[in-house]
């Protein structure tokens, strides 16, 4: 029978001088002692050549190289590697060229600048196993709230923490809970708003997917504080994985008696049902969401009365966003004062941002309030890719605005963003570079809000359409200076007179881009040019004949891809664009491997 393993012990001069025969003897003895002599063969070899590190041994067939062995290493080595199959790291050789130690996570700014509270368990636990959440102090805050605190004390801690709603508006969470607690009417409800609709924001999806119990525990604590028996999680159906993990988490919590009757044997009853969204951005608005949960079209209504007085089924209702609920357990565990030392004077704690667009490190980051945009974009985000110039960051989704490079040292909190004309929103941060056209961005968001406007109130229904028409005219090159004034005027009316937050904030992308990037609007109107070459109707396309022939050999990919068949040319010859046929789609630019298509 062949041996399964061969130990090639060096017996060259150097190794022998380093007592390699003693090592070999120790190996033979140890192998015999364990009855492995039929499986493992000890072979003495000639000089390996790497004499400085002897005694040396190479283990075959896997080729593991051990160095500086001594007889006392042998029992451990035989046990670990030859018996159990785990090579012994400390006896191995580390080549100098790879010795550059890996950076520690805390040496990498992407990680070191973050402080995880809402995302505290991300990547650390299996979201489908409640035990792993419990292992990381999960449900300890609930136990504390139920056994050691009165509802009033829970409320006090949340108030002391200074926590404000993470969904966008930043209403103080403690004050909201107090309104519900004091409101007349039974039963009371808690709702988790997981209708994350802002394009470019996905922190709520991530929290529910990676740590659903943190949201459930937060809702339990909130329910205890305000005296609610039932809760609802309203979640986007476009997030199937989040829905599935939430369902599993709820079931496990019920099995453990953390939901249902007599929770943790304390006499507290509470349970949660799930309502899946059917695709309407306006349902992120609290009154519209309640309407959707009740099974009606998600149209908002005028406030007051607030949800705290007149919410789900007309009863007092406490609605918070996913991230807000996930922040509650650590606040109860560590105390409100602990949370309040993080952040700025009026914006406490941390906030999760999704960093997307023209940025090197795309991802989800949780940082203390008050951090500057520069730190987020450059230290954490790693800057703009491809050596391009940073132009602006869009925060707050369709309700927010664009913040220019001049304000990059702005410390981020609810107030500073509002002063800059934008808003915190749910925490989407879309980074834009010199290739992004700010007028196009404004038009993009207006197209979004116009499409999502529910149509109930006239300012939003008609005003967003009017603004979109004007912006489309400008990006098509037919805008006038009067359009610019009209745009501003309509924007102000829509902001002041719309029924709900969707309408009142819809003009923000327009107003901020007009404030900080007026020159781009003027270029579109006056010179009929789009400086970033994004607005295609204002571009002209031509092919540089020299590049096309010399580098591309007239490859013809543009001719084949052109949807209007507006490009002509033969193989190995220069191609050209027929301007009368060109519909300015820009496909030729994208498909050319040689950058031969020039946009002007």
């Amino acid at each position: 029978m062949p041996h399964r393993m061969h130990l090639m012990v060096c017996a060259g001069t150097g190794c022998v001088a380093n007592r390699s025969p003693e090592v070999r003897d120790a190996l033979v003895t140890e192998i015999a002692k364990r009855g492995l002599e039929n499986e493992i063969q000890v072979v003495t070899t000639g000089c390996n050549g790497f004499c400085g590190a002897g005694p040396l041994m190479v283990v075959q067939p896997d080729g593991i190289f051990y160095q500086q062995l001594s007889p006392k290493d042998v029992p451990h080595l035989v046990e670990e590697h030859f018996l159990k199959g785990r090579p012994v790291q400390k006896l191995m050789y580390v080549p100098p060229e790879t010795r550059t130690p890996l950076p520690k996570m805390m040496d990498i700014p992407f990680f070191s600048r973050q402080r995880l509270i809402a995302l505290r368990n991300r990547g650390l636990i299996d979201p489908e196993r409640i035990e792993e959440y419990i292992a990381r102090d999960g449900y300890a805050a609930l136990a504390k709230a139920l056994s050691q605190m009165t509802p009033q004390q829970i409320l006090e801690e949340v108030k002391i923490s200074g926590l404000r709603g993470r969904g966008g508006a930043g209403f103080p969470t403690g004050a909201k809970w107090e309104h519900v607690l004091k409101a007349e009417g039974e039963p009371k409800y808690v709702i988790c708003n997981g209708d994350e609709g802002d394009p470019g924001a996905f922190m709520d999806r991530s929290i529910v997917e990676s740590d659903p119990h943190s949201v459930i525990e937060g809702m339990l604590i909130g329910a205890r504080a305000i005296g609610a028996r039932w809760g609802v999680v309203y979640i986007r159906n476009e997030y199937p994985l989040a829905v599935q993990r939430l369902m599993i988490a709820l079931e496990q919590a019920r099995e453990y008696g953390l939901l249902g009757d007599n929770i943790l044997d304390t006499g507290f009853d509470f349970d949660i049902s799930v309502s899946r969204g059917a695709g309407a951005f306006v349902c992120g608005e609290a009154t519209a969401l309640v309407s959707a949960v009740e099974g009606r079209p998600g149209e908002p209504r005028a406030r007051p009365p607030r949800l705290a007085q007149h919410g789900l089924w007309g009863k007092p209702t406490c609605l918070n966003n996913v991230e807000t609920w996930a922040d509650v357990p650590p606040i109860i565990n560590n105390g409100g004062a602990w949370y309040a030392q993080i952040g700025t004077e009026k914006s406490k704690g941390t906030k999760v941002f999704s960093l997307v667009g023209k940025i090197n490190n795309t991802g989800l980051v949780e940082v203390p309030m008050g951090i500057t945009l520069r730190e987020i974009i450059y230290d954490i985000g790693g800057g703009v890719p491809g050596g391009k110039k940073f132009k602006a960051v869009q925060t707050g989704g369709p309700s927010g605005g664009c913040i220019p490079n001049e304000l990059i040292d702005l410390p981020i909190d609810f107030e500073s963003l509002a002063e800059a004309g934008s808003m915190m929103g749910s925490g989407g941060m879309v980074i834009m570079d010199e290739d992004t056209c700010m007028v196009d961005v404004a038009r993009y968001f207006l197209a979004f809000t116009q499409d999502e406007s529910c149509g109930k109130c006239a300012p939003c229904r008609e005003g967003t359409q009017l603004m979109l028409d004007i912006l489309t005219r400008i990006t098509d090159g037919h805008g006038t200076m009067e359009d610019l004034d009209a745009l501003e005027e309509v924007a102000k009316v829509v902001a002041e007179t719309s029924l709900c937050g969707l309408g009142t904030s819809a003009p923000n992308p327009v107003l901020t881009t007009m404030r900080y990037f007026r020159d781009e609007y003027l270029a579109h109107i006056g010179a009929h040019k789009c400086p970033a070459h994004v607005c295609r109707q204002l571009n002209t396309y031509r092919i540089d004949p020299a590049i096309c022939v010399e580098r591309g050999h007239g490859c013809g990919v543009c001719r084949r891809e052109c949807p209007e068949k507006a490009i002509f040319g033969e193989k190995n010859q220069a191609h050209r664009v027929d301007a009368t046929l060109c519909n300015k789609c820009g496909t030729c630019v994208d498909v050319c491997h040689f950058n031969a298509v020039i946009v002007e």
Partner: protein
Amino acid sequence: MQLETVDRIIQQHHADKTALIAMLQDVQSEFTYLPQEALVYLSRTIEVPLSRAYSLATFYRAFSLKPKGRYSIAVCMGTACHVKAAVKILEKFERLLHIKTGQTTPDLNFGLEEVRCLGCCGLAPVVTVGPDLYGKVMLPKVDQIVKQYQKQGARDAKT
């Protein structure tokens, strides 16, 4: 039209009137759209006015009153995808499938639509075909995707 399927869905939701949206969601995912017979049957069975079912069916984006394609292609138009030129991806699908966004091919093989943010902005631009997700989609990839599902459709048709 299999009304038993609608019946099963109604039972799953205990014929609860307030769960009408959830029932419509289930009908939609069974049939790829809300067939008129299903809406009529559903509203009669759980005793809500048909107008309510229609008001929900036309308010929410997730519902369709027309059949959707076997392979529903959705191009994400979220902000991150927008700044990475997702509109060109959409236009290429329109050209290859000879339909406009929101339409279905005459053979009911493909439907094409734009969707709001799918929340995987790190992979922008993003396209989904039914449950399959494709990230960092470049123009040549669009041809591949269409071809792949055309083949799959032909295979499925045979079996």
